[in-house]
């Protein structure tokens, strides 16, 4: 207890000392901070649009008509409400499926690649699997729609299935609502699987090789090593990525639903971003679009805090 009065001024001093010692770092971080403020916080001012009946012709902010929560009411009530909630369900469903498939796919691929001893073969596989990441979604959507078409329009999947005798009539993948979520998830898997393995492979290199040696001495086979050493070794990476992904769960993409969606599958295909485009921007209803955007942000923040909290409880790394 007697040391405390002495420690107090000393502690104060250290804060300033630290700042002085790190002044270069602080100066370097200023532009980044400004960038964040300018691009992430200042635009939040635009949220006021959600409480106005915003008209672009009235250029002055102060002359806009204020309508309170009208736009939020419009968003959740009546036919619009039905549509919005349906789109919310689709967004969550597609996102969830994409994340689950994506995780299983990229982690298994990373585990398999990690076991490949022939470096050349490993590199070739890695290159091939991550190439699609660099394709634009427009092109991917075009490829997917051709692949899934009927054989006479170049639908290779139907062609193969028919030749194998698995089906008689071609399946109309893009006109059946029940396939749509899977089409989105599988396209995402195809495009991003290879790219996502990179981070896991990096995490795997950090695992202490002596653990494997010890396991071999204990008589573990390859699968046991994967299960008991490699996977636990990258567990914290998996959890951190999962938290980050939960924050993005309301962003199920945009392009693929936009290009592949059509009237027949709209009930499963339309997501919030497309709702915003069609009922907000396309119809000049910017306020409604903003209200939907605010809702999305709020839900994302809640989800990410929950995931973070749970991760903390499970004794894992937390993001914040």
């Amino acid at each position: 207890m007697t040391t405390q009065p002495l420690a107090q001024p000393k502690k104060k001093k250290t804060v300033w000392h630290t700042i002085a010692a790190q002044k270069e770092l602080i100066i370097m971080s200023v532009p980044l901070l400004l960038y964040k403020i300018l691009f992430s916080y200042v635009p939040v001012v635009g949220w006021t649009m959600a409480f106005q009946n915003y008209k672009p012709a009235v250029r002055s902010f102060w002359k806009q008509e204020w309508v309170g929560f009208d736009n939020f009411v419009k968003l959740f009530v009546g036919l619009n409400g039905e549509r919005f909630l349906r789109d919310l369900r689709n967004t969550l469903g597609q996102s969830f499926l994409t994340i689950v498939l994506g995780y299983i796919g990229s982690i298994s691929l990373a585990l398999l690649l990690n076991e490949v001893k022939n470096i050349k073969f490993k590199k070739v596989v890695q290159n091939i699997t991550y190439m699609p990441h660099f394709l634009s979604w427009v092109i991917v959507a075009g490829l997917v729609s051709t692949m899934l078409a009927i054989p006479t329009s170049g639908g290779i999947i139907n062609d193969v299935l028919i030749r194998l005798g698995l089906i008689k009539e071609p399946i109309m993948f893009l006109s059946e609502p029940k396939y749509f979520w899977w089409i989105v998830a599988c396209s995402n898997l195809w495009k991003e699987m290879g790219w996502n393995t990179i981070i896991y492979l990096a995490a795997m290199t950090a695992i202490d090789p002596t653990l494997y040696e010890a396991a071999v001495i204990d008589g573990a086979n390859r699968y046991q090593k994967m299960w008991h050493i490699t996977l636990p070794g990258i567990k914290s990476t998996i959890v951190v990525l999962l938290i980050m992904n939960v924050g993005h769960i309301l962003e199920a993409g945009f392009e693929i639903q936009y290009f592949l969606g059509n009237g027949l599958v709209v009930e499963m295909a339309e997501i919030i971003d497309i709702f915003v485009l069609r009922y907000g921007i396309q119809m000049g209803n910017y306020s409604l679009a903003t209200a939907a955007g605010i809702f999305k942000t709020v839900v994302s923040i809640i989800l990410i805090s929950m995931a973070n909290f749970i991760a903390g409880r499970l004794g894992e790394e937390k993001l914040v």
């Binding site: 200042v42 036919l79 109309m172 009237g263 485009l277 119809m283 000049g284």
Partner: protein
């Protein structure tokens, strides 16, 4: 979210920039150009003289005009002949941004949020959002006898019809109408650009040129079915009986036909009765009959399975293969596919229009050409030098330039005979069919939304070769000549009904529903229900039809149809009161 945040940011930036901009918009260039230069005045030797109230364009004073235009035409080639001509004679360089019509609505939404526009905005925006969104400047001050005299003449008789309220309670002219403002004697009537149930010429030829008057849906599909049975493949690809499209912006291909079959003209989503009262027909019996019939035809395998999943581009390329026997569409909308078939010499694979109706109904597919309202070029608020742009449009409106756009260059693209009549040699006609040649020698993308001199020029020639009667017949291929003769008809137009006078309010499809209004919302919801349910209804097993139809009607009941019908009816009444009268 990222997109959304960046959108907000863009808006914010624009708002700040707008606030910082100096009030004066006169730039030095504008002042320079007001001094008339000799040489340029000599250029305008057309039928009309250009007056002096505007800057005169000349090569000594080069200007660049940016053009944003919604059109189905593709961009001109870099070495385009007319692009060079504009540069040489007027010093005008055009920068294009071409928007396919099916993306226009979204593009406009994004543009308005950004608030930055090209100088010339070529719009087919039915919701007049560019006007109410404050994107266009009123042109009234320019449209006078001593300024843009030719443009003034273009709008003068129709002033009340064209003047639009942008939301400030005053009516101004913002957009110069692009089509169907006629001058002189209305000639031609050879072309038909609008609606019909199109049928491939070879189907009719193969059936021995059956009579296509008094067409019914049953006979139309019978012809298609017989042909499809006889020729299961065309050029090695499976024959497609009937094609439908419901891509964004083109949903009307799916939703419009019932009104025609019931003997009404195109009023968009409504039918107007003899008391000038409009009501929707999407859930009525006339619609049910049509979709039930399509459902049965689908069960027979005559409807393309990919109809409802394809985009507009996929639809057009499918049509261009020549294996589609029939579809409902408007001629202008599938023109690219038609031209592609002509360029390949596959005349027998192109289509001719028929008019199926229910028994007891009189076809009213063809209407009297109505002047487009709020379609065409307007000048944006971002334009630094509206004087120059108005002057450009006014110059383009001269007979000399109109002839260049339509006929081409004398001696190169057409010749003049001893009577002063314009004609083309067979080689000249042939090259006009080549799409690549056209991209190098014509400026269709720019001209599409331009005010046009339709009818006859002061020298008696028709506005373009297609409407010059003698030229029209000569330009037909042998196949088409033979086809028309077999039917005892002279033009494509002869396959259609003789249109009666249009009702005053006609057409309802361009009645504007204000942004954010209940009516607009209802209209959008109605369309959305249609594109969600009608494809299902058509593709379903016939036994499920009644059930699905009931669901569809039930969904429509949830929409505030009254708001939509009220808005349309108010529009009709307003037009009956105010239309007519010019300046």
């Amino acid at each position: 979210m990222k997109k959304f945040v960046s959108l907000l940011l863009v808006m914010l930036l624009v708002l700040t920039m707008a606030a910082c901009q100096p009030a004066s918009k006169d730039t030095t260039q504008g002042n320079e150009t007001t001094t008339p230069t000799k040489g340029a005045t000599d250029e305008n030797k057309g039928g009309n003289e250009q007056k002096t109230g505007l800057p005169v364009l000349s090569p000594d004073n080069p200007v660049t005009i940016s053009v944003w235009t919604t059109t189905n035409s593709s961009a001109p080639a870099d070495d385009n002949k007319l692009t060079k001509l504009l540069k040489e004679r007027l010093g005008v360089t055009i920068n294009y941004e071409i928007i396919p019509t099916d993306n226009a609505d979204q593009k406009i939404g994004v543009l308005l949020a950004g608030g930055e526009y090209a100088d010339l905005m070529g719009t087919t925006d039915l919701n007049i959002r560019l006007i109410t969104g404050g994107a266009l400047i009123p042109l009234d001050d320019y449209l006078t006898e001593d300024k843009a005299n030719l443009l003034f003449e273009h709008v003068r008789p129709y002033w009340n019809r064209l003047a639009t309220d942008a939301g400030d309670g005053e009516k101004h002219i913002y957009v110069l109408p692009n089509y169907n403002r006629f001058y002189g004697e209305i000639v031609g009537g050879t072309h038909y650009g609008a609606s019909g149930f199109w049928i491939q010429k070879h189907v009719l030829e193969d059936a021995g040129y059956p009579n296509v008057d008094n067409m019914t849906l049953e006979r139309y599909f019978e012809l298609i079915e017989n042909y499809a049975r006889k020729y299961p493949t065309i050029d090695g690809m499976p024959t497609i009986g009937f094609e439908i499209l419901c891509a964004p912006g083109r949903e009307w291909v799916l939703t419009n036909p019932p009104q025609y079959i019931a003997g009404h003209p195109n009023n968009g989503g409504v039918i107007v009765d003899e008391n000038n009262v409009a009501s929707i027909f999407a859930d009525k019996d006339i619609a049910k009959r049509y979709y039930k019939y399509l459902n049965q035809m689908n069960a027979k395998g005559l409807v393309d399975k990919e109809s409802f999943t394809q985009t507009n581009d996929q639809y057009l390329s499918k049509l261009a293969t020549g294996r589609v026997l029939g579809m409902y569409d408007q001629r202008w909308a599938f023109g690219q596919a038609y031209d592609a078939l002509v360029a390949e010499g596959k005349y027998e694979r192109t289509w001719v229009s028929t008019m199926p109706v229910y028994e007891g109904c009189t076809p009213y597919y063809a209407d009297r050409e109505v002047m487009n309202i709020n379609q065409g070029y307007g000048i944006s608020v971002s334009c630094k030098n509206p004087d120059v742009v108005v002057s450009f449009l006014n110059t383009m409106m001269s007979e000399e330039w109109q002839k260049i756009f339509n006929w081409g260059i004398e001696g190169e693209d057409y010749l003049v005979d001893e009577n002063g009549r314009y004609y083309r040699t067979p080689e000249m006609r042939e090259q006009q069919k080549d799409l690549v040649w056209r991209s190098k020698n014509r400026l269709e993308a720019l001209y599409d939304n331009m005010p046009k001199y339709q009818g006859t020029y002061s020298d008696g020639n028709a506005d373009g070769p297609g409407n010059q009667p003698e030229e029209f017949f000569e330009s037909l291929s042998d196949y088409d000549k033979n086809f028309l003769t077999s039917y005892g008809k002279k033009t494509w137009r002869d396959f259609l009904n003789q249109p009666p006078d249009n009702p005053v309010y006609y057409p309802c499809w361009n009645i504007h529903l204000p942004d954010g209004s209940e009516a607009q919302m209802a209209s959008q919801q109605l369309t959305d229900i249609s594109i969600q349910y009608l494809p299902k209804i058509i593709m379903a097993d016939p036994s499920e039809f009644e059930n699905l139809w009931a669901q569809y009607v039930n969904e429509i009941k949830k929409v505030n149809i009254k708001a939509y019908e009220d808005a349309i009816n108010a529009g009709i009444q307003e037009r009956i009161m105010n239309w007519g009268g010019g300046r």
